[in-house]
Amino acid sequence: MKKQYAFFIDAERCIGCFTCAMACKNQYHQPEKVIWRQVYPLDEEIYPYTERAFYSLACNHCENPTCLNVCPVKAYYKREDGVVVHEQEKCIGCGNCIRSCPYGAPRYNPEVKKAEKCSFCWQRIDAGLKPQCVQSCPVEALQIVDLATFDKPGAVQYPPGFPKYPKLNPSVRFVLPRLPKIIGREDI
């Protein structure tokens, strides 16, 4: 398989602390509501305790990215390492990518009237650094992996609550959260 960087989200380790999301903002200073990485609490049908299990999600740097395919001005390109790059200076702000991405990764920046999205911190990668979100995670629940060599047992591509789009083939893998054994109170 070709090299393809991916985010590995270990929801068993993830403590939903939002550190990754803020670390991203710390690096890129996105304007209000222009969120590249968000931490989503799982619905109670998936995990029964409110706001206690999460998926940290950004652009999935798909093998076959819709954003790239629908862009009329070729503002997107895919690097050899699989990272999907948006070149904002070419963007005309038509919104095609924003409407087409089923994962909601590209966001509209109203200040510059253009789209933008998670870059996988490719400039940091090229400088020998980890993506800011990955480096920030205090519990190593968010990692950068290469799908060409990734073989974590039990990891899945489409966990409950994460939309399934095999044609896009999102470059993301998950481990599901666990429940503790609960010793409840006898008096209530």
Binding site: A21, A23, Y28, K33, K114, Q123, A127, I183
Partner: protein, 769 residues
């Protein structure tokens, strides 16, 4: 990209290499220009109080940054070592210091928001005066005018009362920098004043551990990986010490069982092997029930107890005569069979450790609870062991000079007759000079700030100086606080944002953020030490606490020579250097403070507290029976103390949110992005009883006040409790202190000067609006 670099990304333990000058040709957002322009505008009268418009597109990692060492100065276990990346005099982004094996290259959701803080449009930029407290009618004044108003008031008090006891200080942990103790120094340099002393944080547990072991001293958190059994009791590390969680995980990976005991199903509980939903404030009963079973089953460490403790036989007699597992089950709500199983597992796993959270002791029986849990750890021989310990906190790395703190009163100053030591958790250095033998400061309970302002006369508190603290957001019984402030003739608050206390002040002074001033930061949990460099010039007209003190001293001495002993001009960097001594250098294995420019240093301490089994108690041994405890009004043995009597329909719990620390962080626009509004969490059964649906606006009320907010139904909270997270939102009147009263906890006076406060022994009712 070469393979070596690639491997860096793929490992889970290795962190970022040093930053290399960037290879990135992309244009950067015109952010820097925007900020520089804002700085120019700020120098004009009536500067901006609105968000900046950024005009350019994305900013990216560009390389070629100037780097500085900073440290998070908040009251937090983690006290993270920060690496700050600066370009064109502007903080571009920050990271955790990779040199610290504790921080390990990362910060937390709060910490990463610091990049925004100095440049927040909401920041207090200049000294300002409010015409009419709470009116919002603020007027910018010069530092000279602000200082003159303050100095004249101080002199007026001095002339009227013959002392400065009418001037009080409300300061705690808003900034734990060592040089920030210059605020206390400033007060001393003016005369004998009134101090709000003690701590709302952890005092009952401090006393408890001092009675048992002669000090509060925890194992290195990084040593938790060596434990074979970990109980996290009454603490939510996943929110309040995110960097400790990896050690819990590692212990688990190596085979340790992780048990969380908490009234709430916290984030940490969700990550445990077992979660025990205990009835609030009955933790002591559970610990003693376990102890009774360990005693009966002869699973205690007899050799350890014989060699290293006193009073064990009396403790055993107390357990046999007063405690049964069945009683503990009834009291705590935990089934007896589980108590027995946990007791046996804990007693036979070697080593086993308990992390005692601070929430555990914010109760009327909090100190007694900590003593009971300490006893459990000691009787199983786990004190003094690697991978063991009753982990609570420590101050072993705080042996600085306290140069900023220790200032002399002016000649002829008068105060409370006689020498009385002002205590506090971080007040290490008492004034031993001759003058201090004649007079003292007046010491009042910080946990009853509103009440003592109302009650104190002769002389009354006429003026309040607030620094590193937000009484309206953090002190208890807010409605009473409003009445108390009405009694004050002048309130001066030093802060960064227009918070609730600033709103009730007459004068506000803008204080520097961590990036704008020099200081030193140590942790009360891990063993690392960081310096905090000035990474950028102070924005607008902000000054640090010690620079404010120097500015005030200048004005005081102009108006009345000799009225203030604080130096009128200081070099903040020099003052940071003055805090170091050979003891600190030796402890951290550094030859000079300048070594810390290369990254944080870790104390050369044994990872196990009390490893030499030489305890600091009067007997030199672990004291199951403590006469000192008895002298301070508590039981000599770690006996059970009943919880506070319920005085309303439900329990009310108001712990921290993960997005903030007390009233800091949540107000920042970057934080609002992820945490825009507060909720009250109630169990579906309670909601059904009260006809409340998810999303309904509800009132939470009791005899002292009420809070209105949106309900979220959740089973993380038991059916008999209401859960609200403490926070200050800048556009929302939500304030949990409306419904939290100032009832004292059982311990704290011995080591911190005042008893703690029963923050989690609160009760309230709820109704749909």
């Amino acid at each position: 990209m070469n393979n070596h670099k690639e491997e860096n990304f793929m490992t889970t333990t290795n962190n970022a290499a040093e930053v290399q000058p960037g290879s990135c040709p992309l244009s950067r957002r015109n952010f820097v220009k925007g900020l520089l322009a804002a700085g120019l505008v700020a120098n004009l009268p009536c500067g901006l109080l609105r968000p900046l418009q950024s005009e350019a597109g994305e900013i990216v990692y560009g390389g070629d940054y100037e780097t500085f060492r900073n440290a998070c100065p908040r009251n937090c276990y983690d006290t993270c070592s920060i690496k700050t990346f600066v370009k064109d005099g502007v903080v571009q982004f920050i990271e955790g210091a990779t040199e610290s094996t504790f921080t390990r290259g990362g910060l937390c959701v709060k910490g990463y928001g610091y990049t925004r803080r100095p440049y927040s449009p909401d920041r207090i930029k200049y000294p300002m005066v409010q015409e009419g407290r709470g009116s919002g009618n603020w007027k910018r004044v010069s530092w000279n005018e602000a200082m003159e108003r303050i100095a004249k008031k101080i002199l007026e008090i001095q002339d009227k009362d013959g002392s400065l006891l009418g001037m009080a200080l409300s300061k705690y942990s808003g900034n734990f920098g060592i040089t920030n103790y210059g605020v206390e120094g400033m007060m001393s340099s003016l005369g004998y004043t009134t101090r709000l002393t003690g701590t709302p944080c952890w005092p009952a547990g401090i006393d408890a551990q001092n009675f048992d072991m002669g000090d509060m001293w925890c194992n290195d958190p990084e040593d938790m990986v060596n434990a074979r059994y970990v109980i996290l009791w009454g603490g939510n590390a996943a929110w309040n010490s995110v960097h400790s969680v990896k050690y819990v995980y590692e212990a688990q990976r190596r085979g340790a069982k992780i048990v969380v005991i908490d009234p709430l199903l916290t984030q940490q509980a969700a990550k445990a092997d077992e979660y025990w939903q205990i009835r609030t404030s009955t933790d002591g009963a559970l610990a003693l029930g376990m102890a009774r079973h360990i005693l009966d089953a002869k699973l205690y460490d007899r050799d350890w107890v014989m060699a290293n403790s006193i009073g064990f036989e009396e403790f055993a007699d107390y357990l046999r005569g007063n405690i049964t597992v069945e009683w503990a089950a009834k009291e705590s709500g935990i089934p007896a069979a589980n108590i027995i199983a946990l007791a046996e597992e804990f007693a036979t796993a070697k080593p086993a450790t308990i992390w005692l959270g601070y929430g555990l002791q914010r109760h009327v029986n909090g100190g007694a609870t900590v003593r009971a849990i300490d006893a459990l750890v000691a009787m199983t021989g786990n004190v003094g062991k690697i991978g063991g310990g009753a982990r609570y906190g420590h101050l072993r790395t705080w042996g600085f000079n306290y140069h900023a703190l220790l200032q002399k009163q002016p000649e002829g100053a008068k105060g409370v007759p006689g020498k009385a030591e002002v205590k506090g958790d971080f007040h290490f250095a008492g004034g031993d000079d001759a003058a201090a033998l004649s007079y003292s400061d007046r010491s009042l309970n910080i946990n009853k700030t509103a009440q003592v302002i109302l009650d104190t006369d002769d002389p009354p508190i006429r003026m309040l100086w607030v620094a590193c603290k937000n009484p309206f957001s953090q002190d208890f019984d807010r409605n009473k606080m409003i009445k108390a402030f009405e009694k004050l003739e002048m309130v001066v608050t030093v802060d960064q944002f227009f918070n609730e206390t600033v709103a009730m002040s007459d004068i506000v002074l803008p204080v520097t953020t961590l990036f704008e001033e020099w200081t030193i930061n140590a942790s009360y949990w891990h063993y690392w030490l960081s310096i905090n460099e000035r990474a950028i010039q102070p924005m607008y007209e902000a000054k640090s606490d010690i620079q404010i003190a120097a500015t005030l001293s200048n004005t005081m001495n102009e108006l009345r020579p000799g009225s203030c002993t604080f130096p009128t001009e200081i070099d903040s960097r020099e003052w940071m250097i003055k805090e170091f001594n050979q003891g600190i250098y030796d402890l951290f294995g550094i030859s000079s403070w300048e070594d810390l420019k290369n990254g944080p240093a870790k104390a050369k301490m044994h990872p196990a507290s009390w490893h030499d089994l030489k305890f600091g108690t009067p007997s030199g041994k672990y004291e199951f029976k403590s006469e000192l405890a008895e002298q301070w009004g508590n039981k000599a043995l770690p006996e059970y103390v009943a919880p506070r009597k319920q005085n309303n329909k439900y329990r009310l719990l108001t712990p921290h949110t993960k997005f903030g620390l007390h009233s800091q962080f949540v107000n920042l626009d970057w934080s609002e992005e992820f945490y825009p509004e507060p909720f009250v969490y109630i169990h579906p059964d309670m909601a059904a009883e009260k006809d409340i649906k998810d999303g309904d606006v509800v009132r939470i009320f009791n005899s002292i006040g009420e809070v209105t907010t949106t309900a979220k139904l959740s089973t993380v909270v038991p059916a008999d409790a209401i859960l609200m997270y403490e926070a200050w939102f800048k556009n929302n009147p939500y304030n949990v202190q409306n419904v939290v009263d100032d009832t004292s906890s059982d311990m704290g006076a011995y080591k911190t000067g005042q008893p703690g406060v029963a923050i989690h022994d609160q009760f309230a009712d709820v109704a749909k609006v």
